[in-house]
C-alpha cells in the first residue's frame, strides 16, 4: 500500500529535498493515474474481445457469401 507519510519523509531526507520531493510527487501522480486507468481493465478487455469477435463473424459471413 502507498504510504504518503513514508514517501514524504524519504523525499525530504535527501540532500536536495526540493528535487527529491518533485520526483516523488511525479511518481506518486503517475501511480495514481495508473491505478485509475486500470480500474477499467476488465471493461477494456471485454470490449476488445467483442470487437475481435464481431470481426470474426463478419469474416465468416464474407466467406459464406
Amino acid at each position: 500500500m502507498f504510504n504518503k507519510e513514508y514517501v514524504l519523509t524519504k523525499a525530504f531526507s535527501n540532500t536536495d529535498p526540493g528535487q527529491k520531493a518533485t520526483d516523488t510527487g511525479f511518481r506518486v501522480r503517475i501511480s495514481l493515474l495508473l491505478v485509475q486507468h486500470f480500474k477499467c481493465l476488465r471493461f477494456a478487455v471485454r470490449y476488445n474481445h467483442l470487437e475481435r469477435a464481431l470481426h470474426r463473424l463478419q469474416d465468416h459471413e464474407n466467406r459464406m457469401n
Binding site: I30, H37, V45, R46, Y47, N48, H60, E61
Partner: protein
C-alpha cells in the same frame, strides 16, 4: 445433451470455435425470419443476427445467461426483436453506422462507471497493441474468468504456472505502455 447446451458449455469453457458454431447454427432460419418480420434486406438481417449472437455470447460469458429456460434460438430471436428499434434509430441518424456503433449496441459504455472514457480509450488501445498471446491470455483471465489450469489447457501451455508467469509479464508490459501514454498525455 442437446447441441445448444453443448455450445453453451463450450462458450463457458473458452472454446475458440464455439462462437462460430453458435453463429452457423441458426443463421439460415434467422435471416429468412428477420427479412419477413422486419421487412429488411438480407444484409440488414445479417448485421442484426451478428449483434444478437454477440449479445447472447457475451451474456453467457459474463454469467447473465446461466441456464436455458427455452432455447438459445428463441433467446437470440428475442434479443434481435429488442435490438431492432435501437438499431433502426442508429441507422436513421447516420447512413454508415460502422463497427464502433455496432459494438455500442452490444456493450454499453455506461456500464463502465468507474473510469473516465479517456482511460478506457488508453487501456483499450494499449491492449490492442499488446498483441498475442498476451491479449488472448488476459481475455481468458479477466473476461472469461477461467482458472490458470483452464487457461493453460485452452492456450496449450505446459502447466498453470506457465500461464501465471506469462500473465504477470503481460500485465507488466501493459502497465509500461499505459504509463508511457499517461506521461505523454497528462504530465
Amino acid at each position: 445433451m442437446t447441441q445448444e447446451n453443448q455450445i453453451l458449455e463450450a462458450i463457458r469453457s473458452g472454446n475458440k470455435s464455439a462462437l462460430e458454431e453458435l453463429y452457423v447454427l441458426h443463421r439460415v432460419p434467422f435471416l429468412r425470419w428477420a427479412q419477413v418480420e422486419f421487412q429488411c434486406s438480407s444484409s440488414d438481417a445479417c448485421e442484426l443476427y451478428q449483434i444478437a449472437v454477440l449479445i447472447t455470447y457475451d451474456n453467457i460469458v459474463v454469467g447473465k445467461l446461466k441456464s436455458l429456460h427455452s432455447t438459445l434460438k428463441s433467446y437470440i430471436y428475442a434479443v434481435a426483436k429488442n435490438k431492432w428499434k435501437e438499431w433502426q434509430r442508429a441507422r436513421s441518424r447516420t447512413r454508415n453506422i460502422g463497427d464502433p456503433y455496432l459494438l455500442q449496441l452490444i456493450i454499453k459504455p455506461e456500464e463502465e462507471s468507474t473510469a473516465d472514457p479517456g482511460a478506457v480509450k488508453i487501456v483499450t488501445s494499449a491492449l490492442q497493441r499488446l498483441g498475442q498471446p498476451c491479449q488472448e491470455l488476459l481475455e481468458c483471465f479477466y473476461y472469461q474468468k477461467l482458472s490458470m489450469k483452464e487457461i493453460s489447457d485452452v492456450m496449450g501451455y505446459k502447466n498453470p504456472s506457465t500461464a501465471k508467469n506469462l500473465k504477470y509479464k503481460c500485465l507488466q508490459r501493459l502497465k509500461r505502455m499505459v504509463v508511457k501514454k499517461i506521461k505523454m498525455m497528462y504530465v
